[in-house]
């Protein structure tokens, strides 16, 4: 980005704080876009440096006692805590289940950490707990350990939830961008941007002609079914924060290959498309909580797509593009009018524009 050296040594021999364009954390540092990526690249990776972390996957994969395990963690701070199509509890279970599934793992056990703001109605907590139980049952995982902290009123926002999880990876399964080959097909499991648009609408009191619902869903069963058809699935990724664009860019950049996607093949509802048009947002950058992207060898693509479409969370799955040898690290989209353009990482938060 900048020509300046990354590390400023003027502070002496102590570990200096890496140079950044901001001296305070901004919301965009947690937005899943370029600023988030800068935090990871400049602060976390160099200090926590190890081979598992450096892969920058949704979770870490390691072997112990002859078993290959995946381990992942995620925190949930969504506001509002109840929204059409789900709530923070369901999201916290599904999110970590999906992170493990994206490692190619069968999720087994979760931990849960609650950070609760003083004054949260016990009824609300009860609803969240019930919803977490339902989600865990549905995904076939158990919540086996946990922790609860309460902070002063005004020091939190109702409730924050962290979940971590472990899962086991079957022999022969390996989900990594490095596996991608030119000619591989890119599959997307359904209609995009529904979670992000739902949250934004609920938060801002926006109403659209037909209701939009969060797509929050556990994807582990679908992943199991996909892997049963093809163990050669190259990489799986759930396009949460930063949306489909950021997930594809991460894969392309880690794979050192290009991607070509077709705008007309990307599933999206009219309502979500219209909502994005009105707000001046690009649905490709909006969060999903129940969708996955899969890069699959061309010869297996139809079979994998067929099992995705049979799953309740993959009914609208589509083949949206392919991996290219050229344009390393870049995602190019054929637009609906037949021209081509680059689809970039999300920069900062998407801000609704003036007109």
């Amino acid at each position: 980005m900048s020509d300046k050296p990354d590390i400023d040594l003027s502070g002496g021999f102590a570990c200096p704080i890496p140079k950044s364009e901001y001296d305070k954390v901004l919301l965009a540092h947690g937005g899943g876009g370029t600023l988030s990526s800068q935090l990871i690249q400049k602060m976390f990776l160099p200090q926590f440096d190890n081979p598992m972390l450096n892969l920058e996957h949704d979770g870490a994969v390691f072997e112990t006692g002859g078993a290959r395990l995946a381990f992942s963690t995620d925190s949930y701070v969504v506001q509002p805590i109840f929204f059409p199509g789900g709530d923070i509890g369901e999201l916290a279970v599904n999110g970590t289940v999906n992170d493990l599934a994206m490692c190619g793992a069968k999720p087994l056990y979760l931990s849960v950490g609650f950070i609760i703001e003083e004054g949260l109605p016990l009824d609300d907590l009860w609803r969240i707990v019930l919803s977490m139980k339902t989600a865990a049952d549905k995904a076939g995982v158990q919540i086996v350990t946990g922790d609860t902290k309460v902070v002063d009123r005004g020091k939190g926002d109702k409730i924050f939830i962290n979940t971590s999880g472990v899962g086991v990876i079957e022999e022969g399964v390996n989900s990594s961008p490095k596996n991608c080959r030119p000619g591989d097909k890119i599959l997307l499991s359904g209609r995009i941007a529904e979670h992000g648009v739902t949250i934004m609408s609920a938060r801002e009191g926006l109403e659209f002609e037909s209701a939009v619902q969060s797509d929050s869903a556990p994807l582990n069963k679908m992943v199991e079914e996909m892997l049963a058809v093809s163990k050669n699935i190259r990489v799986l990724r759930d396009p949460t924060r930063g949306g489909v664009s950021s997930a594809l860019n991460e894969i392309a950049s880690a794979a050192g290959m290009g991607m070509l996607i077709d705008e007309t093949k990307i599933p999206i509802t009219e309502t979500v498309r219209a909502a994005c048009d009105i707000l001046g947002l690009d649905p490709l950058y909006i969060a999903n909580e129940g969708k996955l992207l899969a890069v699959v060898p061309a010869e297996d693509a139809e079979a994998v797509l067929a099992v995705m479409r049979k799953n309740e969370f993959g009914r609208h799955a589509a083949m949206i593009g392919e991996v290219l040898e050229e344009n390393s690290g870049r995602v190019v989209m054929k637009t609906s009018i037949g021209s081509k353009r680059v689809v970039d990482m999300l920069s900062g938060e998407q801000l609704p524009r003036i007109c």
């Binding site: 954390v25 901004l26 037949g338 081509k340 680059v342 970039d344 900062g348 524009r353 003036i354 007109c355």
Partner: protein, 360 residues
């Protein structure tokens, strides 16, 4: 919203692209005024579909981009006050002031809130009677009725804690300024459809006549823009210079009378400074005397503002259509959407951000 599909149709786009190619016999430079159109041109890769004879230059029609630095600094100074809730459309929050942006004010504890509708700011004022609520009213004629409505409504509801920081600008004076500049290369204009939805297009007739340029009132979908370019090329090739309405499904010659009446009540036409261009006479709206009590500039004394514009930034030349974003030494290097040096890198409507995002 299904009606939009026909304006994003590949066959229609290809046909128009072919028709433009057929009718072009020499090079022409056309400026699209509106940032929304610049964004669509980049998002849909429209330049790919045009013959090399056609050069599109991107006009100053990004409200975020032309808001003067003094006004941003004023907004920041007001937003920092403990007694203020500062409200704004999203994309103004990241525009760099001399030292910081509004998002940094928020990160440092200022009560800065993004709203989707200016009327939300009036509601916030009603709900927070102990705070002074300010809305940053920025934009062209398109947003002026909505922003003006806040003042009219606050007055009607008897609110005394609401004010508008008004930095409204107008399109026709900008066209006149660009065409009056020495070295201008612009031979035809795509006028901003949504501006004309409010104002109509009668005020463009004398401009087309005086400067002998075709002006096409154009929509925002890719097929609209290609159609606007096609109509413009037809006129240029035939030596005509008329105002033509491509966006007739939305725009009427007389505009929206109710909106224009509101504008006349709430605002006066005033001189305005445009970031990167300079002061243009009678080129903006200021709050009228009748509503002076709702004018944030008159309510808050923020003292002397000394502005500090980064030297390397060529935003001015970009906004005037004299240079392209990638000709800037800082483009994509020191200046990125995360760390913009100039306003055109901030809003998705800004030419620099559009070039950056869509990989020009």
């Amino acid at each position: 919203m299904k009606y939009k599909d026909e304006y994003r149709d590949a066959t229609a786009a290809r046909n128009l692209s072919g028709a433009i190619r057929k009718s072009v016999s020499k090079p022409w430079t056309i400026m699209e005024i509106c940032g929304g159109q610049t964004h669509a041109i980049m998002k849909y890769g429209l330049e790919d579909l045009l013959p090399e004879e056609i050069t599109l230059v991107h006009g100053p029609g990004c409200p975020v981009c032309v808001t003067p630095l003094e006004m941003i600094d004023k907004a920041i100074a007001i937003a920092k006050r403990n007694d203020v809730i500062f409200t704004s459309y999203g994309d103004m929050l990241r525009v760099p002031g001399s030292d910081e942006d509004l998002l940094s004010v928020k990160a440092n504890g200022g009560d800065v809130r993004m709203v989707y509708s200016p009327m939300d700011a009036v509601t916030i004022a009603e709900e927070n009677p102990d705070k002074k609520v300010v809305f940053f009213g920025v934009g062209f004629e398109t947003t002026a009725p909505g922003n003006g409505m806040t003042v009219a409504q606050a007055h009607k509801r008897g609110l005394t804690n609401f004010s508008l920081l008004c930095s409204h600008v107008l399109v026709p004076p900008a066209i006149e300024a660009i065409l009056s500049m020495e070295g201008t290369q612009v031979q035809g204009f795509l006028a901003a459809g949504h501006v004309c939805t409010v104002m109509g297009y009668e005020e463009y007739l004398p401009l087309a006549e005086k400067f002998k340029v075709p002006i096409i009132v154009t929509g925002f979908e890719p097929v609209d823009i290609l159609h606007g370019i096609y109509l413009c090329v037809q006129q240029l090739e035939a030596g005509r210079f008329e105002v033509e309405n491509q966006y007739s499904r939305v725009v009427r010659k007389e505009g929206n009378p109710a909106a224009k009446a509101l504008l006349a009540d709430v605002f006066d036409v005033v001189d305005r400074k445009w970031r990167g261009i300079g002061r243009i006479p009678e080129s903006g709206f200021g709050i009228s005397e009748k509503y002076a009590a709702y004018d944030a500039e008159r309510i808050f004394d923020v003292g002397d503002i000394k502005v500090n514009e980064p030297e390397v930034c060529i935003a001015g030349a970009v906004l005037q259509g004299l240079r392209k974003p990638e000709e800037c030494a800082a483009f994509g290097k020191e200046c990125t959407p995360e760390h913009p040096l100039g306003a055109p890198m901030v809003s998705s409507e800004g030419a620099c951000a559009a070039y950056f995002h869509y990989g020009k």
